[in-house]
Every structure is written in structure tokens, then in C-alpha cells.
């Protein structure tokens, strides 16, 4: 950097705003949508309820992976650790006569707690070390679980305790809990990004060393995201169990879950708030269309992740946002010239 003064540009008066009329409308619309979705089980059939549960689980996974990579700059390939842990913790609690649904809540909290010591280990790393470090943790957990006979060892186990609920009400409860989790974690991220911490996270993502040099507490910010993403993935794991009722270690600790998350986030838009939700919807639709041919569907998935990373790194939503200047969910600030204010994507 040069210390040389620039010729002073004529700076027009600016205003810094967060909310636009559109974003205010959209955010309240989003809140209303969540409220409306509470009534899905009453209004729609059983198939729809289960499909919506799946979709909401995907949204939760995508939003949480994006919290880590998009806002913390931390590419994890090990989020399946918490998916598996959340599911197995639920099973373990149910075996110890905790109500399954209460168990899912506790398992979520448990994942967040487990992540605390892990964060001290993992956050020493960046880039590839972090990516593969988290992956090794997930692999080690999978082996550890598969050695435990009480948890069904390598052959897997089911959440039989859910049978005490009638099938219909079970589906409804599962749906509502998934909706609750998704709304809670998405809302928590939204508030987090709007807090002072949010601005420092932005700074970290833009330039970690520079942020540290002006006193931004880099590790603290990353740690909160790490814990949030762990708990969120744990919740998604518990909901996957509730939705499928059966799990086995290799499947629930499969790196494919992270592959799905990466796909959803890259397609929707890494580091955008709305992108992962869109990515989850795309992923859900793709799975319905291509799901019959599992292999080609995965080839498309990997290929699309590559293509988006290389050619459209901001994803569908990020690109749209860039071109149009629209922000539906205001997590950043916008600087505007005071006089006739054309929305400039600058």
C-alpha cells in the first residue's frame, strides 16, 4: 500500500442503509411463510408432509454449511460427523428412556457441546488442513460408533421408540420439529450476521490477516460459526433419523452428506443468505427427477459443483444479486448516494 495521497475525489453525500422497502417486505414475508408452513400437515396429505420434511432438512444442512464456508471461510468436509452424531445420540438417549423427540433436541445441544473442544483443535487450521482434519474426525467417529454393539455396531440400528406414536402424528411431529429447527438455525444465523460479530465475520472473510491486524477477533467469530454449524448439522442428523427411522454408520457418516451440502451451497450462492435455500430446492427437485439413476445423478452433482465453483462462484443467487442489486434478506449494509439513487451494484 502506498501512503501517497490520492487526488480527492468528489464524494457525494452517502447514506448507509440496511433495509430497503423490498427487503423489509421480503423478510416479513419470510416470517409469514414459516408461520404458514406450520399448517402444512393440516392442509396437505401425508406424502407432502414427508417430502417437506426432507426439503426442510436439506435447507438446514445447506444453510449451516454455508454459515461455515460462506461466512467463516472454512470448507469442512466433515459435517457428516455431526449428522451421524446427532442421529446416534438420539438413539442412545432413546435407549435410555428419553422421549425420542426430546432426545432430538438434546442430541442437537450435545453436538454443539461436542464441537467446543473440537473447535480448539480444528480452528488452528485453514484451507485444506481444516477440510481434511474435519473429515478425519468424522471417519474416526464412524469407526468408533461401529465398534459399539449397543448402538448396533456396523449393521445399524433403528429408532424403535418412535413406534409409541401413531404414524400420522409421528410424521406431523417430525415435520414440525424439522420446521422449528430450520427456522431456529436460519434465524440464529440471520441475527448473528446482523450483530457486530457479523461485520467482523465479513471482514474475516474478505481478508483474514488484515482483519486480525485491525483487532478483529478472528478465532472467536469462527468458533461461534463452528458451534452453530455443528449443532445445526446435528439437528439435521436427528431429523434424518426421524424421517427414515433406520441408520447405519457408513451411511449416516457418509461424506456424501457434505457433498450434498457443497452442491446446494455452490449452486445457490456461497456466502449469500438466500442462496443455500434456493440450492436446497434445486437439489430436492433434482433428486426427485434423477433419483432413480443414482450414479448419473451423482455425476451431475459433482460436475455441477465443479462448474459452479469454476465459472459461477457466486452461484445462482449471488450472481442475480450482483447483477440486480436486490437484497431480500438484509444481512449486510448498503451504501447509497443520497441524490437520485439508482441501485448501483458496486
Amino acid at each position: 500500500m502506498s501512503a501517497q495521497p490520492l487526488a480527492p475525489a468528489v464524494t457525494p453525500p452517502t447514506t448507509i442503509r440496511r433495509w430497503t422497502r423490498l427487503s423489509a417486505g421480503f423478510t416479513s414475508g419470510f416470517g409469514l411463510l414459516v408461520v404458514a408452513m406450520i399448517f402444512v400437515p393440516i392442509a396437505l396429505g401425508a406424502n407432502t408432509v414427508q417430502d417437506m420434511t426432507t426439503l426442510l432438512t436439506y435447507v438446514l444442512m445447506a444453510v449451516m454449511w454455508n454459515a461455515l464456508a460462506g461466512y467463516g471461510g472454512l470448507v469442512s468436509i466433515g459435517q457428516q460427523a455431526y449428522i451421524g452424531l446427532g442421529a446416534y445420540a438420539t438413539v442412545w438417549l432413546a435407549q435410555h428412556s428419553v422421549d425420542p423427540y426430546l432426545g432430538m433436541l438434546l442430541a442437537t445441544v450435545f453436538c454443539g457441546v461436542v464441537a467446543i473442544p473440537l473447535s480448539f483443535l480444528m480452528l488452528r487450521f485453514r484451507g485444506a488442513q481444516f477440510a481434511i482434519g474435519t473429515w478425519v474426525v468424522a471417519e474416526a467417529l464412524a469407526i468408533w460408533v461401529s465398534l459399539d454393539n449397543a448402538l448396533g455396531a456396523g449393521t445399524g440400528t433403528s429408532l424403535a421408540q418412535l413406534d409409541s406414536y401413531a404414524p400420522t402424528s409421528r410424521e406431523h411431529y417430525t415435520y414440525w420439529l424439522t420446521l422449528g429447527f430450520t427456522a431456529f438455525f436460519t434465524g440464529a444465523l440471520f441475527l448473528l450476521l446482523r450483530s457486530r460479530l457479523g461485520s467482523s465475520l465479513q471482514a474475516i472473510r474478505d481478508d483474514e490477516d488484515a482483519a486480525a491486524s485491525v483487532g478483529v477477533r478472528v478465532v472467536a467469530g469462527k468458533r461461534i460459526l463452528f458451534l452453530l454449524a455443528a449443532a445445526g448439522a446435528g439437528a439435521a442428523g436427528a431429523m434424518t433419523l426421524a424421517n427414515t427411522l433406520f441408520i447405519e454408520p457408513t451411511a449416516i457418516f457418509s461424506v456424501n452428506y457434505t457433498a450434498f451440502m457443497i452442491f446446494m451451497v455452490l449452486v445457490g450462492g456461497l456466502g449469500t443468505f438466500e442462496g443455500p435455500i434456493i440450492g436446497a430446492i434445486v437439489f430436492y427437485l433434482m433428486q426427485n427427477w434423477l433419483g432413480n439413476d443414482g450414479v448419473w445423478y451423482l455425476v451431475v452433482l459433482g460436475g455441477a459443483a465443479m462448474a459452479f465453483a469454476l465459472f459461477l462462484p457466486r452461484g445462482v443467487w449471488g450472481t442475480l444479486e450482483e447483477r440486480s442489486g436486490l437484497r431480500f434478506m438484509p444481512v449486510g449494509y448498503r451504501v447509497q448516494r443520497a441524490s437520485p439513487a439508482p441501485e448501483e451494484p458496486q
Binding site: 500500500m1 502506498s2 501512503a3 501517497q4 490520492l6 487526488a7
Partner: protein, 240 residues
């Protein structure tokens, strides 16, 4: 015809304009010294001529060929060599390896590992030493040798005396003087105004990315250069 033609060049670092609307021609065999305060854009300009910095506007022609979009490593093969600021030897390579790496795509000419070591005798006993273990003056000699070995038609020198002991500076310039005497075309950036004026046919003084004063090394007075250096003449120039 001139060897180097820079036409309306603009260079940026992000939003910062380092060099603005810069035009300069250097004739074959000429030695031009660029002087100016820190941040005047001299280093950026040399890096752009060498191809390490992509201009935002303007053209750079070398021997009549537009090289504005030519990659740095190809410009080396065309005959442009830069001795970068801070020497930038490959620290874990030996002195000889540093020379050999550059010699691989060398143009035909008189400079080889042996002739470079002849010109910088201090390198003889350092051939097998890792570059990181050399003193500043030794590193500078090796860095100049590494540029010469490509047999450049245009040699760009960025602050070769920076951080060196006075004696080492003498050594480096004595060796350079013979290179220049042989008719090499040189553009150099030098903080030491006296030395710049002594070695160069022409002195170009830059301020905030523009040329504010230009003249033959022997004709410009120290006062003139100093004024230009600190921008004292700028208001006059703007009035004129």
C-alpha cells in the same frame, strides 16, 4: 527507432492509480533513470514493462512490437529482464542454480554462468551456497547476474542500492558501469539522485504516477530534481 515505447499507460492497484497517462520512449543504448519519492509509481512501472503488472490502459511496445498483453516469461525471451526490488533470489536454490534457472531460456549472447561470475568475481566462491545465506551485496550481484544471463536487450533495475552498505553499492555500480559502457539499454530506479544523474543519459522524475521533470543527466541540477521530487514545481506546472 526507440527500443521501448510506452504510450498513455495507466496502472492501478485496485482502486489506487499508481501510474497515470504515462508516455516514455527509450532509445537503443540509452540509460534512463527514474527518480521520485516512494509511491510515485516507479516500481509498478518497471513491473509493467517486465510483464508482471497488467496495465488498465495504454500500450507498451518493445522493438516495435506491442507487448502489452504478452506474458512476463515471454518478454524475457524477447529480451526484457528485470532485477526486482528486494532482489528476490530463490532462497533455497544455490547461486549457481539461480543463474541456471534464468539461463534456460536465454537468448544467444555473451552472458553465461561463467561470464557472469567473471563480471561479479565475488560470486565465484559462492556458487554452491544457498541464496538465502548471502549478504545483501552478494545477493544483489547474483540478482543482476540472473537478469544479465538471459542476455537482455533491455535491462530494468529496481533500487539496486537499497539496503546495501556503501562499499557494496560501489561494487555493484562499478560492475554495472561496464555493462552500460558496452551499450546495453537500461532503465533504472534509483533513490540516490547524485548516482542516478551520474550513471544515466536521461533522468525522468515521477510524482504521483506522472512525469514532472525530464532532462539529460548532465544538464539537470540537483535543485531542479529535488524540487520535482517533492512536488514543489507541481503548482507551476499546472499553471503553465
Amino acid at each position: 527507432m526507440s527500443l521501448l515505447d510506452i504510450e498513455a499507460l495507466n496502472l492501478r492497484h485496485g482502486l489506487l492509480e499508481a501510474v497515470r497517462d504515462f508516455t516514455l520512449s527509450v532509445a537503443e543504448g540509452e540509460t534512463v533513470a527514474l527518480v521520485g519519492a516512494n509511491g510515485a509509481g516507479k516500481t509498478t512501472l518497471l513491473r509493467a514493462i517486465a510483464g508482471a503488472h497488467r496495465p488498465s490502459a495504454g500500450t507498451i511496445s518493445f522493438d516495435g512490437v506491442d507487448v502489452t498483453r504478452v506474458a512476463a516469461y515471454r518478454r524475457v525471451q524477447m529480451g526484457i529482464a528485470l532485477v526486482p526490488e528486494g532482489r528476490r533470489l530463490f532462497p533455497a536454490l544455490t547461486v549457481e542454480e539461480n543463474l541456471l534457472v534464468a539461463a534456460q531460456r536465454r537468448r544467444p549472447g555473451r552472458w553465461t554462468v561463467d561470464t557472469v561470475i567473471e563480471a561479479f568475481p565475488m560470486l565465484a566462491r559462492l556458487r554452491g551456497r544457498r541464496a538465502a545465506t548471502l549478504s545483501g551485496g552478494e545477493q544483489q550481484a547474483a540478482a543482476i547476474g540472473r537478469a544479465l544471463i538471459t542476455n537482455p536487450r533491455l535491462l530494468l533495475l529496481d533500487e539496486v542500492s537499497l539496503g546495501l552498505a556503501p562499499l557494496a553499492v560501489e561494487d555493484v555500480y562499478r560492475s554495472l558501469a561496464s555493462v552500460i559502457a558496452e551499450g546495453a539499454t537500461v532503465v533504472l530506479v534509483e533513490q540516490d539522485l547524485t548516482r542516478a544523474a551520474a550513471v544515466a543519459d536521461r533522468v525522468v522524475c515521477m510524482l504521483e504516477g506522472r512525469i514532472v521533470l525530464e532532462g539529460a543527466g548532465s544538464e539537470l541540477t540537483r535543485e531542479q530534481i529535488t524540487e520535482a521530487y517533492f512536488g514543489l514545481r507541481r503548482s507551476q506546472a499546472l499553471d503553465a
